[in-house]
Symmetry: C2
Amino acid sequence: MSSEPLYQQLVNEWTTLIQTGTVRPGERLPSVRKACAMHKVSPSTILLTYRTLEDRGLIEARPQSGFYVKSAANLPLPRMRRQSAAHHTGGEVVDQIEAVMGAQNQADFIDLSLASPRGSDFYPTTRFKHIMGRLLRQHPELTTDYPFPPGSERLRRQIAQRAVSWGCVLAADDLVISNGCTEALQLALRATCKPGDTVGVESPTYFALLPMLKDLGLSVIEIPTHPTSGLALDALELLLSEKRLNAIVAMPTVHNPLGSTMPPEAKQRLAQLVCDYQVPLIEDVPHADLFYGATTPDAVKAYDRDGWVLLCASYSKTLAPGFRIGWIAPGRFLSAVRRLKFASSLGQPALLEETLAEYLESGGYDHHLRLIRRHFINQMEKLRGAVAQHFPTGTRATLPSGGCLLWVELPSHADTMQLFHAALAERITVVPGAMYSAKGRYRNCLRLSCCYPWNEAYQRALARVGELAGQLADKD
Amino acid sequence: MSSEPLYQQLVNEWTTLIQTGTVRPGERLPSVRKACAMHKVSPSTILLTYRTLEDRGLIEARPQSGFYVKSAANLPLPRMRRQSAAHHTGGEVVDQIEAVMGAQNQADFIDLSLASPRGSDFYPTTRFKHIMGRLLRQHPELTTDYPFPPGSERLRRQIAQRAVSWGCVLAADDLVISNGCTEALQLALRATCKPGDTVGVESPTYFALLPMLKDLGLSVIEIPTHPTSGLALDALELLLSEKRLNAIVAMPTVHNPLGSTMPPEAKQRLAQLVCDYQVPLIEDVPHADLFYGATTPDAVKAYDRDGWVLLCASYSKTLAPGFRIGWIAPGRFLSAVRRLKFASSLGQPALLEETLAEYLESGGYDHHLRLIRRHFINQMEKLRGAVAQHFPTGTRATLPSGGCLLWVELPSHADTMQLFHAALAERITVVPGAMYSAKGRYRNCLRLSCCYPWNEAYQRALARVGELAGQLADKD
């Protein structure tokens, strides 16, 4: 059997899937290995299929990440230049966060900054209401008994079962429930570092991490991070070999703000590095369940043989932002994290833990995830299209592998702090790039969200931010 | 009008009230000033009344605290000797807490250690169920919106309104909601101290405070504390004048474990001291609403003119242990606490905050408090009676001003760590006194709780612990 007709057949199949929107822009195609198994063909046939689809402009290869359905929007990837701002003061990040959060609480603002959608349409609130009603009737002690760490065993069992899809073999007893992923990070940092220590973080990184590190008396080294493949491991290894890091915080799956996911080989190497150098890695993956691909990528924790990885996540981005339920699998730091949780804030509300556990047991979560992933893939393509249309020439943007966040890079002289204030004056909230760096980097970047319903107000706000960005870019 | 017939009339009235159990053992009589206003008589008449009641063995004066209905149990106050254990290691408190907590989670244990009752009979769970059901129907966004500090404004308004009865004039914006009083304490310590600082605490103190201080890199100085009048202010002033303290943590109203409440003049002096020396006071009062008297005593915060007092409390001991809702009024440290709460764990679950706010608005809390205070007064008298009956000669115990905790001092050579293990072997949990000191003090003390329903199993367990204590005392 010749491979020519076969690959042609596959090209036709995939073309149909893409053109009918069954697989959408931004979605990742199966890896070559997986596609071989799926179609029972050789790697060369799959490569030929993918190259042909690429030539036809339907898909694109992303370095170290795989093949993706191509976005219609013509936006090159950000260059991620690392110059710091000349007038950086250091205290800015916290002030800036307060300004952005203050704006978020205004009901009549168009919010292009939120990292999770508002409103009950998006979440299984009706299910929660029914479960909670029954639990309150049958188990009133859920509101009256003191909850102690590590938290609901039933919920921890569910989390451990789900972690299998991230390649992790965990038991309920390996986990501690926390007040969202934020407290999980805080506990992880306190369990692994002492004041004066230095923590390596991605650049850019989750903005709320920076004040947390400062509050804990920890210094920061920002490590270059690629818009599709994530943390630069050569740079990390250099720092490790120089013994300059006491811990690392990274978001290897669906990075915030870049949307990047490290390829499996990179994750494996990262796990090996932290094991070799015996430096704890805090793997922060609250957005991982929003990965666009059909299968969930393995966590770095999946390759962790000696317990140096502390895996932190939550259900705040996918199910119940209002429950404040996060969790941590702290590896060799388990007993330290349990003690710290006990001494810092005791347990979490058992009623909410049990509600979530019952929802997860009932098996509706995977279906729910498919719906919201599809929704975000769709919204993200529209958002990228709007940026390509309305933002000034020279604008670049990420191609997120999941989630609802887009990182936009304006021409290098534009200042998004000015853009933030100009947009705020028109009741529109965006997040300025400088919030994602302790060194005042990314002054020409901003983070946009596609959480907002795709209505006229949102589109008008996006167009207006693009226009304001154009005015800033023209000022040069 | 001569005062003789009048005081005699008052003596008869009070005798009836006491003998019919309308006012019960452990309850505090109105202060002389209040009684004067109540009965429209002179102070000398009231003093004569109280002295006569005292002579008849119906009430007793407690130093610096007032007159109380006398307990039937003949138990002298603890002597509070401060010798440290010879073999103290320092790591014991945390290990001991884990052992006690581990035992508490065993369903078939008789638990004489809990600081709040279990079971839904004690709390307004039915009301919570109804409120929560309606909130979930009408406001599903309570589970889906991200909650940010400082927490529900509606709840903060209720807390501020209730703080008036503690003599505090607070606005909703002066408050931050926390994950129980435990997180409030943690945030207060982080806002006021840096690692390496020294914190003054009462001796004995709330046991979970000790690992918290250790985790935060803070040193401890234990300050003598009186079983009825609380923190020894002369000792505190000595330390303040020597500039040895960076902050103070104290429980001036219904101390845990002593049950002491500082008299108003002492609280006023304490407020003045921390203001004069500009040293923050973390006023930790989760048990204050369980004060036995008819009127709520003022907080130290009531006398705080310059914001040096950080008032921390919760609803975990009175309404909903499972909600994990605490709060802090951080005074001049407000913005630091807000930022720390944001960076440490974000907000608390809004559904639970709003449920509690609606319950408090509806006005049922005062009635509920009256019921549980009366319950504890009753139970405490029975507990003290059982200790007097079953524990060895030479046993001493506190006369709590509120709450459900009794501090028992055995003859000085008895070791309550041994008692803890001996009781545990018979499935009974008590808290050994050494847990309340970083220096291994109070090895001959233990804390008992009257939370448990007053049934045969509880009485048998108490008698058995007394018997075991007697065996230890005899070993000498």
